[in-house]
């Protein structure tokens, strides 16, 4: 709504991130806005997203397919390509706004400070280059040892770190299984010890056994490095097992950010509730419960709360007034008119 409102929301988001438990904020995303220009108008893929990532924390991002999760990841890496455009906002990485860096500066930051493991990254490995060369290539921009014994040793250590045999260095991507490729991708991503690792569906193409191994590897590395991880995905089971806090996106906005236990025990936003209810289980066989209705148009978003056309609790107010992401309970940010603001929080 009004400007002050948005800003209020941000301070709260920041406050929750940095809340006095001794952990500091490593990445502070404020009011990020990204659009894709199309002949029919701008697609508002990310529409005012704010969140604060604490050092060493695992933060999950889930939400409807097409809700803007990958766009956030790409923006933070300055990898949005036309017709995409970052329209506004900041992303402060230890105080430096990465969105404002020049291309040259950003190239140094990528990998060294913030790394991205993309959706289907396994397929982004260069098919005609050995794994070894791909690691060295990644180092080139950062003045790291490019050849010689030192490089060989570091590659060997790196591969061992992610659970790969040293021989893998000499192999081509097609000689590796999906799980091995994904480990190689992780090896490249962590090779310069970034502070923030963004993993966009790192295991969605892998089976549960390999998934568990990869996620355990990622967690070990995260702890060794003290890095923060943003895990993007759809698998709520994976989120439950891996992240400390979960952000739920809908139509380019964060609609809820809660600690993982609270999110599962007592989801507050109606979309979070329906999402959690739609999880199939092994306990009973039955109908799949999707959320009725279509995802909203991002070209011409509905007025008011973007979820109102599908929300079972929608009220008159929801059709006109956009709910701000606010602190509704301690540590819980929710964008929904059903809840009163939590008072008396810093």
């Amino acid at each position: 709504m009004s400007d002050t409102r948005v800003r209020l929301g941000q301070t709260e988001v920041g406050a929750v991130g940095g809340r006095g438990d001794g952990t500091e904020v490593v990445l502070d995303v404020r009011d990020l806005r990204v659009s894709y220009v199309t002949p029919r108008g701008p697609v508002r893929a990310v529409n005012g997203v704010s969140f604060a990532l604490r050092r060493g924390e695992a933060f999950g991002l889930v939400g409807e397919s097409g809700s803007g999760k990958s766009t956030i990841a790409l923006s933070l890496m300055q990898l949005i390509k036309p017709p995409g455009r970052i329209e506004g906002g900041q992303a402060l990485l230890d105080g430096t706004d990465v969105l404002a860096l020049s291309e040259e500066e950003m190239r140094r930051v990528r990998l060294a400070e913030i790394a991205l493991i993309t959706q289907g990254a396994m397929n982004s490995l260069n098919p005609v280059m050995r794994i070894r060369e791909q690691i060295i290539d990644a180092w080139k921009d950062h003045g790291e040892p490019i050849n010689g014994r030192e490089a060989e040793e570091r590659i060997r250590d790196l591969l061992r770190w992610v659970g790969l045999q040293p021989e893998v260095a000499r192999m081509y991507p097609h000689e590796l299984s999906g799980g091995m490729k994904q480990r190689a991708v992780i090896a490249i991503a962590i090779s310069l010890r970034p502070k923030v690792i963004i993993a966009d569906e790192p295991t969605s193409a892998l089976d549960v056994v390999v998934q568990r191994q990869i996620m355990q590897t990622l967690r070990r590395i995260q702890r060794d490095l003290g890095a923060a991880v943003i895990l993007i995905g759809h698998d709520m089971g994976l989120m439950a097992q891996f992240v400390d806090r979960l952000g739920v996106m809908y139509a380019g906005k964060l609609v809820e950010v809660s600690p993982i236990r609270e999110m599962f025990r007592d989801p507050m936003h109606p979309y979070s509730q329906l999402l959690i209810q739609s999880l199939p289980s092994l306990a009973r066989k039955g109908q799949f419960l999707g959320i009725p209705g279509l995802p909203p148009s991002l070209l011409d978003p509905p007025p008011g709360c973007p979820f109102h056309p599908r929300c079972p609790y929608a009220m008159e107010r929801c059709r006109v007034e956009v709910p701000a992401l606010e602190l509704k309970r301690p540590n819980r940010l929710v964008a929904c008119h059903l809840y009163e603001r939590e008072e008396g929080q810093a």
């Binding site: 409807e64 097409g66 799980g179 998934q211 959690i276 109908q287 799949f288 419960l289 999707g290």
Partner: protein, 358 residues
């Protein structure tokens, strides 16, 4: 009634030219029959590299078996006439894991949807084509006005995947082979898409082979499940017993590895192989022995056959060696026919019921 599609003793080996150590047995002696009636849903699950995509590509005629054959209406794919091949291409549709492979980046999404309608002469006018396309897109939760006219890179991963599902629905095939069709969409959409696939199989008499590593959705949607491990069937049969009371140590591992959507229930750890299992040579004996907590001496000698431990289940594991052997070409005899109410989970024919700790 001729079998719609059959894999008969199919083996697929990659590589294996001069450098025999590069040889990969992607699928070994695999047989399966898909009958035209009643429509069935068969799930194929297994870890990464277990041969699932290889099987899909074989069944679709995209690659030829090293030995054995794929038969469409009783005829080897290699011997189909042009007309038969066309009929096959319409009857058997694919939905792929990585939809990027299928899209031509220079064509709009519309092209992917119009082509099959035109190719098989399924519509009389552009108007009818448009109606069919709109209907199919809505069935998978996409907004036609915002999907049509776009290029593949302008859609999110999940949106691209759904266009592929819509495309398969469009031509009303008799069998859909779907390789990880919903791995990239959120839980609620996954539910919507799988429900639309299930409705389709029921309403239009279409069978479905659902390939996935997601055991939960496999269980939810399928009549029967085949668990593959390194190219061989580890366990197969009616979804209920396979998932609720898995027998093969690999199936148990898979089910035990599912991350539960409950932060208070920790992800379980993989059990260590037994002392004997640690000695296993990957080239002989049970392919799972080197990871198996129950591996015994006999497991190191020869890969186990399929033991029919129950009416609707087979398990390739010596722990069940007292049960009768089912020849691998008769795998589908252990399948429950759709529509049959779930058979009671019978007492297993286990010889050595494994205990949970070695």
């Amino acid at each position: 009634m001729t079998t719609l599609l059959e894999a008969r003793g199919v083996t697929k080996i990659y590589g294996g030219g001069l450098f025999r150590r590069d040889r990969t047995v992607a699928l070994e002696d695999f047989s399966l029959r898909i009958e035209p009636e009643p429509p069935s849903i068969t799930a194929i699950v297994g870890e990464s590299g277990s041969g699932k995509t290889t099987l899909a590509r074989l069944l679709l005629g995209m690659t030829m078996p090293t030995s054995g054959a794929i038969l469409y209406q009783g005829k080897d794919l290699r011997k189909l006439s042009r007309r038969e091949w066309r009929a096959f291409r319409r009857d058997v549709q694919a939905i792929f894991q990585d939809p990027y492979e299928v899209y031509n980046p220079f064509y709009r999404v519309d092209h992917v949807l119009h082509t099959p309608l035109k190719k098989f002469g399924l519509v009389k006018s552009d108007r009818e084509a448009r109606e069919r396309i709109v209907e199919a897109l809505e069935a998978v939760g996409l907004r036609p006005d915002e999907t049509l006219g776009r290029y593949p890179h302008q859609l999110s991963g999940g949106q691209r995947q759904r266009v592929m599902v819509a495309r398969a629905l469009l031509v009303r095939p008799r069998l859909i082979i779907a390789d990880e069709p919903v791995s990239m969409v959120d839980a609620s959409l996954r539910a919507t898409i799988l429900e639309s696939l299930r409705t389709l199989t029921r309403d239009f008499s279409v069978s479905l082979i659902y390939i996935t590593h997601d055991l939960i959705t496999a269980y939810q949607i399928s009549d029967n499940i085949i668990v593959l491990y390194r190219g061989s069937v580890a366990e197969a049969g009616h979804a209920e017993p396979v998932v609720q009371e898995p027998q093969h140590p690999y199936t148990r591992l898979l089910i035990g590895s599912i991350p539960l959507p409950d932060p208070d229930r920790a992800w379980s750890e993989e059990q260590e192989p037994s002392a004997i299992g640690r000695l296993a040579d990957p080239r002989s004996g049970c392919t799972f022995a080197s990871r198996c907590p129950y591996a015994m001496e006999m497991c190191l000698e020869r890969h186990p056959p399929l033991y029919q431990t129950e009416r609707y289940r087979v398990t390739a594991c010596y722990l069940y060696r007292e049960a009768p052997v089912l020849a691998s070409e008769h795998l589908d005899e252990a399948f429950a026919r759709p529509g049959i109410p779930g058979p009671a989970v019978a007492a297993s024919g286990a010889a050595d019921e494994p205990t949970s700790s070695p």
